[in-house]
Amino acid sequence: MYSVEFKNITKRFGNLTANDNISLSIKSNSVHCILGENGAGKSTLMKILFGVYKQDSGEIYIKGKKISFNSPLDAIDSGIGMLYQHFMLIDDFTVMENVILGKELTAGLKLNFPKIRKALLEIIGRYNLNVELDRKVSDLSISEQQKVELLKILYRDSGIIILDEPTAVLSPVEVYEFFNIVRNFIKDGRTVLLITHKLAEVKEIAETVTVLRKGKNVYETERKKLDIGELSRQIIGDIFPKEKIKEEDIEYISGKQKKPACVVKLERISYSEKGKNILNNFELNINEGEIIGVCGVEGNGQNEITDILTGIIKNYKGEYERKTDNISVVPDDRLKKGMIKEFSVGESILLRKKGENKITQKRALYRENEIKKMYDIMIPYPGCPMAKLSGGNQQKAIVAREIQLDSKFIIFSHPTRGVDIKASSFIYNKIIGEKNKGNAILLISSDVDELIFLSDRIVILYKGRILKEYTKEEIGKSLETGRMKFLEEVGKYMIGITE
């Protein structure tokens, strides 16, 4: 029995074919993973299912019945729920208010709060969702906000749940927790469509896997026959570039090693906001040609460190020394902090660059072309606003923009969040390139593998202070004794357990 069947779905945007005659069947009561690069057509297909877009041709069947949605409301009514990558929550409302928006249980004209609360508490208990109903959304961490979104979907009792890259914003511990929730969905007879970039997750949870490439369904396999190597080949279509970088990295490590000079120095930095201590005696040195990895669960002071280093926060206590005026920063949230989505790639580069006082279309296009070639960025048409680029390409454009500044100090905050393998390895390459130029780099991430791969030193941040520091040698040694054991150790420090 299939929950959802796509039959010959085709969707075009201008002369770009996002979905090219895709046929796909989703088994009931299972997790079906959809893999593919940024721009492979995964999100488009899901948005068609959810009624955001309408397909140009083809049909969709739900539980054997042909359907045609005109808006997400129709889809919700048919029992489909979607967890977007970017949450649709109202910051000033409480969790409960957010959840009941659009589906209010009323007693006459009055909202029947006791009844709603009871229903919600029941859902929270059953799925271990762990959110307080009366807290304001603006006070919640990203993973808690994600749970609110899930609560919304469950409150509407959706039987088919679309998860669009749900773990991109989670730390390893949270991912573990999240998958337990997803397993409970299956136990309860729901069907899950999971879009992801991370192959490890596919291995962990998928029942069936489909790979989309350039809008086409190119590969499908079952859990029993799952082969990660084959999957990655199918996703990219040619070689697996991550391996290539590793060689270069090893070359660098075994190569020249000179005495580096300190570029950025933070001493006894403390910072509090609204009476809450965020940073406590935080200390950090970054030398030239060095990548310092900051590891931690989100909300332990990472953003505040970035803001102090870039000068956005000024009222901190402690000493901050820096031997360079220019700082480049790739912020953690590309939509909110990373770019002005209305401007084109070229325009944002000119806007960011010092001494560029005239910004004409011609100059912007020239810059755009330059960057497009160097960074292999897909831009739908020359001078198009950044909003129209896919997530991975937006991120590449931001990285390109910041590297173009030729700063001696660069902050990368979650540089590959929500970015596919190909673009990630491209960005890793660029980060290593900047390090080899002798620039000081701060890498903030919750992806431990990424940190191990890139960093010369890793510090673990917990509640605004450094709980543990690893040098490259220590990391190397630990890895020899077993990767899983090391990850477990790091994971413990991340949630504040010091033994």
Partner: protein, 355 residues
């Protein structure tokens, strides 16, 4: 850019058509013949130099004021206080022209215009400062400041600057008066159209250039689009907010240039007859594009004078209704044209873009 232009022109054109249609219906309902009313209106405006001149004359203050407002709007500052700001500035222009009348004209002109810019600018600085320091919405502060400004001017006028038994200042020196079009050509005979019309167009073009082609303009728009990201792009958001508000408010003072130096020669209480509010609609219609503002102000000028022209057969208030319908229809046709372009024209646009 090209695609956007075609899109905007289409939607404006459509909305004007829709407006004419709805207005015609309204006229039929009140028992008038729309053909008669429209032809009378357009005849009066376009058949004589006087009509055309008056329409342009009415458009001039709108161009100045909307251009100033556009700067604020691009920074996402919803300045509702233009009425107060322009009155303060115009009053300052009139008073300083009289007080410093001992100065030679080449010095007096810039001094009094700067005084106007400065005083209007202060009433942009106050809401900007309160917004930055205390987070109070500029919508509230600027509305309130309108009342305060008018009360202060009233007080100053009555107690210090007014000519006895009137609500106006003394007349400025004739040498400060701007040349009128009718001084040079008989075509505009009798119309008050003056040099400030040309100044206003030049001004709009300059502001267009600043907003769309300079880094400062990009910074203003960047702050308007996304203040958080602007910080990470290294833009001083507070400074940009203040500058946009002060410059935008300052420019509204030039409404006084048209009225005082181009027309009456003095400041009169209530002279602006809500230009500061109409200008919001004009800027909205032009999507805050200063060059577009020139055209939307001209449209409003035509409607404004056209309303006077048909006053004999329908109340001139009908033109306020028309202005309102224009705004409503542009907002709705915008969406329709948008989706049409996304679906049908995108392909052509892409091909154009690729060549």
């Amino acid at each position: 850019m090209k695609r956007k232009l075609i899109k905007n022109i289409t939607s404006v054109f459509l909305s004007v058509l829709v407006t004419l249609f709805i207005t015609a219906l309204l006229l039929i309902i009140v028992g008038r013949n729309p053909v008669e009313v429209f032809s009378m209106m357009f005849y009066d405006v376009f058949a004589s130099g006087y009509g055309l001149g008056q329409a342009f004359f009415k458009a001039t203050p709108l161009i100045f004021c909307s251009t100033g407002l556009a700067i604020c709007f691009h920074a996402s500052l919803f300045n509702i206080g233009a009425e107060g700001q322009l009155n303060a500035g115009a009053f300052a222009i009139a008073v300083s022209s009289v007080v410093f009348s001992f100065l030679p004209v080449w010095l007096l002109l810039p001094v009094s215009l700067l005084a106007g810019f400065f005083v209007s600018g202060i009433f942009g600085l106050i809401p900007a400062y309160i917004k930055i320091k205390k987070g109070v919405s500029e919508v509230i502060t600027t509305i309130m400041l309108n009342f305060i400004v008018m009360a202060v001017i009233n007080y100053l006028l009555i107690n210090f600057f007014a000519v006895k038994a009137t609500f106006r200042t003394e007349k400025i020196s004739d040498s400060l008066m701007l040349p009128k079009f009718s001084d040079y050509t008989d075509y505009f005979q009798g119309s008050s159209l003056n040099l400030s019309f040309i100044v206003s167009i030049l001004f709009a073009i300059i502001v267009f250039y600043v907003i769309y082609k300079t880094k400062f303009g990009y910074q203003i728009r960047s702050v308007g689009f996304n203040p958080v990201a602007s910080k990470y792009l290294g833009i001083n958001v507070n400074k940009t907010t203040i500058l946009a508000f002060v410059i935008g408010a300052g420019i509204t003072s030039l409404v006084g240039l048209n009225y005082i130096m181009g027309y009456k020669g003095y400041y009169e209480y209530g002279f602006s007859s809500n230009v500061g509010f109409t200008a919001i609609a004009v800027a909205l219609l032009a999507k805050n594009n200063p060059v577009g503002i020139i055209f939307s102000a001209l449209l409003f000028g035509v409607l404004d004078y056209g309303g006077l022209a048909v006053n004999t057969i329908v109340p001139k208030e009908i033109m306020f209704v028309v202005q309102a319908i224009v705004i409503l229809s542009i907002i709705s046709t915008d969406k329709i044209v948008e989706s049409f372009f996304e679906n049908k024209i995108l392909k052509i646009g892409n091909n154009l873009g690729n060549t």
